[in-house]
Symmetry: C2
Subunit: 145 residues, 2 copies
């Protein structure tokens, strides 16, 4: 079983693979909160969510993570308007701001925000289960942040 399969369910991985944007909430060391749309990659080897960018080192979210590792990352979409059905995966965890790291796309910068899940909540992504399901992820399951 791969690391990503230890952390995420097959339904969550399939859902994440089909979505392009997530939103990353970060908090500065002084407690200021922000919420930013980001592209993301599921790191199969580590069981993390990896966020790269064009000039990531200069971003406030990267500096926030350096000062305060707590993050909440969500990927969701509106499956139906009537009835109103939202589905998605929320990952709460601890993030690292790392460099140098080779980016997945050549023109991206050599930093990553690497999110280590500590709690995963998903809803509507598993055809076999209705409603919301949440579970804790043990610190040993993915590389410690």
């Amino acid at each position: 079983m791969s690391k990503e399969q230890e952390v995420f369910t097959d339904s969550e991985l399939a859902y994440l693979a089909g979505q392009r944007l997530g939103r990353l909430a970060t908090v500065s060391s002084s407690g200021a909160l922000q919420n930013n749309p980001v592209g993301f990659w599921v790191n199969a080897e580590l069981g993390t969510i990896d966020i790269f960018g064009l000039n990531l080192a200069k971003s406030k979210k990267y500096r926030n993570v350096k000062g305060n590792p707590k993050v909440a990352f969500v990927v969701d979409d509106l499956a139906s308007v009537d009835p109103w059905v939202v589905r998605g995966v929320e990952v709460r965890g601890l993030a690292e701001a790392l460099e140098p790291v080779a980016p997945p796309i050549a023109h991206m910068s050599h930093q990553v925000i690497r999110v280590h899940p500590r709690r995963i909540i998903s809803w509507g992504v598993d055809p076999g289960s209705l409603g919301m399901s949440g579970r804790d992820v043990a610190a040993g399951t993915n590389e410690a942040a």
Copy 2:
């Protein structure tokens, strides 16, 4: 000029009117962070973002706002994949958890999370301006939280 026009630009209002889902980041009084997809309404009279729900009083985000008013709310979408163009509006501010409040849709519960913008950052929503623009919103511009 309406309250919403004092707080948001015409381009931001037009963009928000065309989007259905936003994401609300909240923090509990103990510092736990979460990020949730939500439907939203721009309150034209107050210049706030109003968030209702089916059972809002029971939600963790509602309790979070009661304990800690700081929130970051973002509405965004992917305008183009190649080139990669994300556009959106982020609202950082102070929220109130209020009840009883008449909901905009009959079956919703009688609570609201009312976000009073203190800083608005937008990118790609104004055809006349490229890049990101951010501005502070004075506390007097919308009803104090």
